[in-house]
Amino acid sequence: MAKYLLLKHYRGAPDPVNNVPMDQWSPEEISAHMQYMNDFAARLEKTGEFVDGKALAPEGEWVRYDGEGRPPVTDGPFAETKDLIAGWMIIDVDSHERAVELAGELSAAPGKDGKPIHEWLELRPFLTEKPSTTECPHR
């Protein structure tokens, strides 16, 4: 099994096909969208492939160390930041093909007029901690 991160972006992904922002949808369309996401996660739990899923607030800030004895510096949020993560789902699947298939399904969540959004999701494999024991026999 291999773990993959499905990243959903507020900004930074190529435009979806059904490109109407959520605040222009009807409340029922929003409910249908949320229901689709919840059902998707529930289904993956049933297939034994679900690991985690969380949403992120769109507003955040940058933080960095500012030297010994000084509080960290904060900055932002920057309206111009290109890439803004909206949330993630982590799946544990048998193959890369399966990960792509599931990302495709998630991207079909309904949006305006109940039609699939076709939004772009970013699919990133996890690095494991260590190689498996017999993988590198000269080790």
């Binding site: 679900f50 017999t134 026999p137």
Partner: protein
């Protein structure tokens, strides 16, 4: 409480329930419930007859679950006729359990999870922690696996249990059936071994325990070969990782930290298996591990023989990964140029191809190329430890002469 002892009883308790007429999926759930109760109760009050306790509790859990299930009313009536819990029969169905849990209709991940629970006696929580998934996800993976094997068929050997009424349908599903293919069981145990150590369960040690149990029940050179392979790799475990968690390559390992008792045992098992002249891939892999384990120093490694074993292994598996590892061995036996020539015949997109190329170029004295390839290999590394190791190799070459 001895948790390993407790775990070792689980498969025989499960097979007793199935022999008494419980279907596999329900019996397995009942045994898991009994196991969880044992883990809770035993530390304060361990029963004298541990197995008898487990059978009694598991059978009670099974009856409770069956009674609670109104839709299974007819089965309940039948169950009431089953003999009262008594001494366990002497028949050992554990081998059939291994085959069922590694059934070819299961995905590798499902077979691993089911084997660890039903044969290994681990709790769902422990298995979930070891594979870094939520407990609910692992529970679903296991119950799907049980549904899959429940459809597999019936064992003519076990037949219909006593107490079945005329006209009743035979309980055909989920019984231990065909003897199965040893190779599928070995693949599952190999996967468990390679998972190593995470969560609170040492899966490598657990895989060794399960392979030992299997080897005690079936006389097969590849089972012995896999056990030898595991022991020989496990013997080097302490030396393979530095205190900071970084990888220590074989040539740089402190051989004084290798477990010589495990090595001796592994070599003994391997020699007896090889003497039977039925070579298989696990015996060949174990032979390579044995040649490494047997060398007093890295320089004294018998690379010529290792290349010969890789030739055998290539013949047995025709795996590109084996050919890649062979190129490394050729580089040691016949020099880096020969290794690079062997590497040139392989698909450059193979995992670790770039890392091997970097190593062979360094050995050949082309340090600039080696440094560039190490950095490239680090970028492609499939895990953190290898990425860090390869980045260090690149850094070492890039900063040479600067300190």
């Amino acid at each position: 409480m001895n948790e390993v002892l407790l775990r070792s009883l689980i498969p025989s308790v499960l097979t007793v329930l199935v022999r008494r007429g419980a279907d596999f999926a329900a019996a397995e759930d009942a045994v898991q419930d009994a196991l969880v109760e044992a883990l809770r109760v035993w530390p304060a009050d361990q029963p004298r007859d541990a197995k008898g306790w487990l059978i009694t509790v598991a059978w009670r859990k099974f009856l409770d679950a069956t009674r609670a299930d109104a839709a299974r009313r007819r089965r309940e009536e039948r169950v009431e006729e089953e003999p009262a819990p008594g001494p366990a029969p002497a028949v050992d169905d554990t081998l059939q359990l291994y085959f069922l849990c590694a059934h070819p209709s299961l995905t590798p991940a499902s077979a691993v999870a089911l084997t660890l629970r039903a044969v290994g006696g681990l709790t769902t929580r422990q298995i979930a922690a070891a594979y870094l998934v939520p407990e609910a996800t692992m529970a679903q993976r296991i119950s799907r696996a049980k549904r899959t094997v429940s459809d597999v068929g019936v064992s003519p050997a076990l037949g219909a249990p006593p107490g079945r009424r005329l006209g009743e349908k035979p309980r055909a599903r989920g019984r231990f059936d065909q003897p199965g293919d040893v190779a599928t069981v070995l693949r599952v145990l190999y996967l468990v071994f390679n998972e190593g150590y995470s969560g609170d369960v040492d899966l490598a040690a657990e895989a060794i325990r399960l392979t030992r149990e299997l080897a005690a029940r079936i006389d097969h050179p590849e089972v012995a070969g896999l056990l030898a392979l595991m022991l020989l790799h496990h013997a080097r475990r302490a030396a393979r990782t530095a205190p900071d968690g970084s990888l220590v390559p074989l040539a740089e390992q402190d051989r004084g930290r290798w477990d010589t008792a495990l090595i001796a045992e592994g070599i003994g098992i391997l020699q007896r298996a090889l003497a039977r002249d039925r070579l298989g891939e696990f015996q060949a892999q174990a032979a390579i591990a044995a040649l490494h384990a047997d060398a007093p120093t890295a320089e004294e490694t018998d690379w010529v023989q290792i290349v010969e074993w890789y030739d055998e292994l290539t013949r047995l598996t025709d795996s590109p990964v084996v050919r890649l590892n062979r190129a490394v061995a050729v580089g040691e036996a016949d020099g880096p140029r020969a290794g690079l020539a062997a590497l040139a015949e392989l698909d450059a997109s193979l995992p670790r191809h770039t890392a091997v190329a970097a190593y062979l170029h360094e050995r050949d004295g082309d340090l600039a190329t080696a440094a560039r390839l190490y950095a490239e290999a680090a970028h492609k590394a499939p895990n953190l430890a290898e990425r860090t190791h390869l980045t260090r190799q690149a850094a070492r070459l890039n900063t040479r002469g600067r300190h």
